[in-house]
C-alpha cells in the first residue's frame, strides 16, 4: 500500500510541485494519473520512489515511513519499486539482457556486479522476464537495434526483474504509435492482474486512461482535483481536471481492433 499523508513538494527554485496530497493506493490497484503537462503528474510518481523528495508530510509505503529510511533503506525500498520511463532509459549500447539484468543490481553484491558476475538464477529470471514481454530472441542484441515498442518492453522486463511490489510508469506510451501503445498497455495490465503488482501510471490520452485504469486520479497545479473509480469518470470529469474542454489531442485516437 502507498499512502500520501499531506505530502507537499517544493523544488529548490521555489516552485511548488505538489500541494497537500492525500492518497491511499491499495496493493494491486491499477491507478492512472491524468492532468495537463505541468500539473505535477511526474512529480507525484517520482516522489513515490523519491527520485524527487517530498519536502513536507508523510509517505508510507508498505507500512514503512518512506521519508526516513536512510540511504541504504531507500535503496532497498527502490529495489521493490520498478520504474518505466517515456524514453525507456535503456543503455543503448548494452545488450538487451544486460539492460534487464540491471534490474537485479540492488539485490547483488556491488563488487560482483562491477565485474559482471550475476548468479545463474538472475540470468534465468531475466530471460523469463523477456519471455513475458515476448522478446527472448533479442536477448543478445544491442538495445538500440530494437524498435520503440520493443525497447519499452525491455524496460518493462527490467522492472519485472526487480520482482517489484509496485511499478511506476511515467508516460510509458507517449513516444509510441497507437497500436504499439495499446500493446504495451496490455502488457502492463496483464502483469498487474497476474502478479498483483500495483501500477501507478501517468497518461495524458483520455481514451487510453479510461480503457486500462481501475481508478483515475486527476491533478491540476499540484493538487488532486479528482479521485475515483473509472466507472464514475465521464468526459465532464476530464474537462474539470483539465479546466478546459476536451480537444482531439487529448485522445490517442485510433480505435482498437480486437
Amino acid at each position: 500500500m502507498i499512502k500520501f499523508d499531506n505530502v507537499s513538494l517544493t523544488y529548490p527554485n521555489g516552485y511548488q510541485g505538489l500541494k497537500n496530497i492525500n492518497l491511499e493506493i491499495p496493493k494491486g490497484e491499477f491507478v492512472v494519473i491524468v492532468g495537463l503537462s505541468g500539473a505535477g503528474k511526474s512529480t507525484l510518481i517520482r516522489s513515490i520512489n523519491q527520485m524527487v523528495r517530498p519536502t513536507e508530510g508523510q509517505l508510507i509505503i508498505d507500512d514503512q515511513d518512506a521519508l526516513s529510511v536512510g540511504k541504504k533503506g531507500l535503496r532497498e525500498m527502490r529495489r521493490d519499486i520498478g520504474m518505466i520511463f517515456q524514453n525507456y532509459n535503456l543503455v543503448k549500447r548494452s545488450s538487451v539482457l544486460r539492460n534487464v539484468l540491471a534490474g537485479r543490481l540492488g539485490y547483488n553484491n556491488t563488487l560482483r556486479t562491477l565485474v559482471n558476475l550475476f548468479p545463474q538464477d538472475d540470468l534465468q529470471l531475466a530471460m523469463n522476464c523477456l519471455d513475458r514481454v515476448g522478446i527472448t530472441d533479442k536477448a543478445y542484441q544491442r538495445a538500440d537495434t530494437l524498435s520503440g515498442g520493443q525497447q519499452q518492453r525491455v524496460s518493462i522486463a527490467r522492472a519485472l526483474a526487480q520482482k517489484p511490489g509496485i511499478i511506476l510508469a511515467d508516460e510509458p506510451v507517449a513516444s509510441l504509435d497507437p497500436p504499439t501503445a495499446h500493446a504495451v498497455m496490455k502488457d502492463l495490465r496483464d502483469i498487474n492482474k497476474e502478479d498483483n503488482i500495483t501500477m501507478v501510471i501517468n497518461l495524458h490520452a483520455i481514451d487510453l486512461s479510461m480503457e486500462y485504469a481501475d481508478r483515475i486520479i486527476g491533478l491540476r497545479e499540484g493538487e488532486v482535483v479528482f479521485d475515483g473509480k473509472v466507472d464514475a469518470v465521464t468526459e465532464e470529469t476530464f474537462e474539470d481536471i483539465y479546466g478546459r474542454s476536451i480537444k482531439e489531442d487529448d485522445l490517442l485516437g485510433e480505435v482498437e481492433t480486437e
Binding site: R78, R79, V91, R93, S155
Partner: protein, 271 residues
C-alpha cells in the same frame, strides 16, 4: 511579369553589405595585416632570407644528410622502440587514472560543487605546464633516461585525457543512470551500468589519440634527456653525424606514421 508590387528605390544603388559591416570588416582586415607585419619584423622573417638560404639547404641535404648511415639502423630502431614504450606506458597509466578522476570533473556525476571546481582548477593548472617543463623537472628528480620521460608524459597527458573524457561524460544521457538509481542501484553501480557503457567507445578513442600525441611528444622530450629516440637525435646533432641523423629521421617517420595509421583505423571502427 510586372514589377508593380516591388517598391522602387529610384536610382540609388543597393549595397549587399551594410556600410557599418563594411567599415568593421575593413578595420579588422587592417589590424590583422598590421599584426603580420609586426611579427615578420620581430622574427626577421623576410622572404629574401628564405630564398637566399635555399641553395644552402639543398647543399646541406646532398653533402651531409645523404646517404643515410644504414649501419646505424639497429641503434635507431631500439631508440624508437624505447620512445614507443615510454608513450605506451605513460598512456596506459594516464587512462587508468583518468577514469575515476574524470567522473569528479563531470558536473552531472559529481554534484559537489566545491569538489568539482577544485578538480577542474587543478586540471587547468596541470594543463598549463608544458610537457618540456615536466620533462626537465623529472630529469632533475629521477635522473636522465626513459623513466623521467614516462613520468613527464603521464602528467602532461593526464590533464588532456581527463578534459576530453569528462566532457564526454557531461554529454551522456542521464536517463539510464536515473533508471539504475530508481531500481535501487548504488552510486558505483549507477556509474558502471548507467554511465560507462555510454562513453566507453569515446574513452578508448581518446586514449588512442593521446597515445599518438605522446609518441610525438616523447621524441621532443628526449632532447632534454628524457630517453628515447629524441635523446639519440640530440646526441648525434651535437657531434654533427648527419648521416646517422638521416637514419633516425627515416625510422622516426616510418614508426610514427605506422602508429598513427593503426590508431586512426582503430578509432574509426570504434565510434
Amino acid at each position: 511579369m510586372t514589377n508593380e508590387n516591388q517598391p522602387q528605390h529610384n536610382n540609388k544603388k543597393i549595397p549587399i553589405i551594410s556600410s557599418r559591416m563594411k567599415k568593421m570588416t575593413t578595420t579588422v582586415l587592417l589590424v590583422v595585416v598590421a599584426l603580420y607585419l609586426a611579427s615578420a619584423y620581430q622574427t626577421d622573417a623576410t622572404p629574401d632570407r628564405i630564398i637566399e638560404g635555399f641553395p644552402n639547404f639543398v647543399l646541406f641535404f646532398i653533402e651531409d644528410m645523404w646517404p643515410p648511415n644504414w649501419g646505424y639502423f639497429d641503434t635507431a630502431f631500439f631508440a624508437l622502440l624505447e620512445t614507443w614504450n615510454i608513450a605506451f606506458l605513460a598512456t596506459t597509466l594516464t587512462a587508468i587514472f583518468t577514469l575515476p578522476i574524470a567522473f569528479l570533473a563531470a558536473n552531472n556525476v559529481n554534484k559537489n560543487a566545491a569538489l568539482y571546481h577544485f578538480v577542474r582548477l587543478s586540471l587547468n593548472v596541470l594543463r598549463t605546464i608544458p610537457d618540456l617543463v615536466w620533462a626537465v623537472l623529472f630529469v632533475a628528480i629521477v635522473g636522465l633516461g626513459a623513466l623521467s620521460g614516462m613520468l613527464a608524459l603521464f602528467f602532461f597527458s593526464l590533464g588532456i585525457l581527463i578534459k576530453f573524457v569528462s566532457e564526454t561524460i557531461e554529454a551522456i544521457d542521464d536517463g539510464p543512470m536515473d533508471a539504475i538509481r530508481a531500481s535501487g542501484g548504488n552510486t558505483l553501480q549507477v556509474i558502471m551500468y548507467g554511465a560507462i557503457p555510454q562513453f566507453m567507445p569515446q574513452f578508448i578513442s581518446y586514449t588512442l589519440y593521446v597515445l599518438e600525441i605522446n609518441v610525438r611528444a616523447s621524441i621532443v622530450l628526449g632532447f632534454v634527456g628524457a630517453g628515447g629516440i629524441g635523446y639519440l637525435l640530440q646526441q648525434q646533432l651535437s657531434v654533427f653525424r648527419y648521416d646517422n641523423i638521416s637514419t633516425v629521421i627515416v625510422i622516426t617517420f616510418l614508426g610514427v606514421t605506422l602508429i598513427d595509421w593503426i590508431s586512426t583505423v582503430l578509432r574509426k571502427r570504434l565510434v
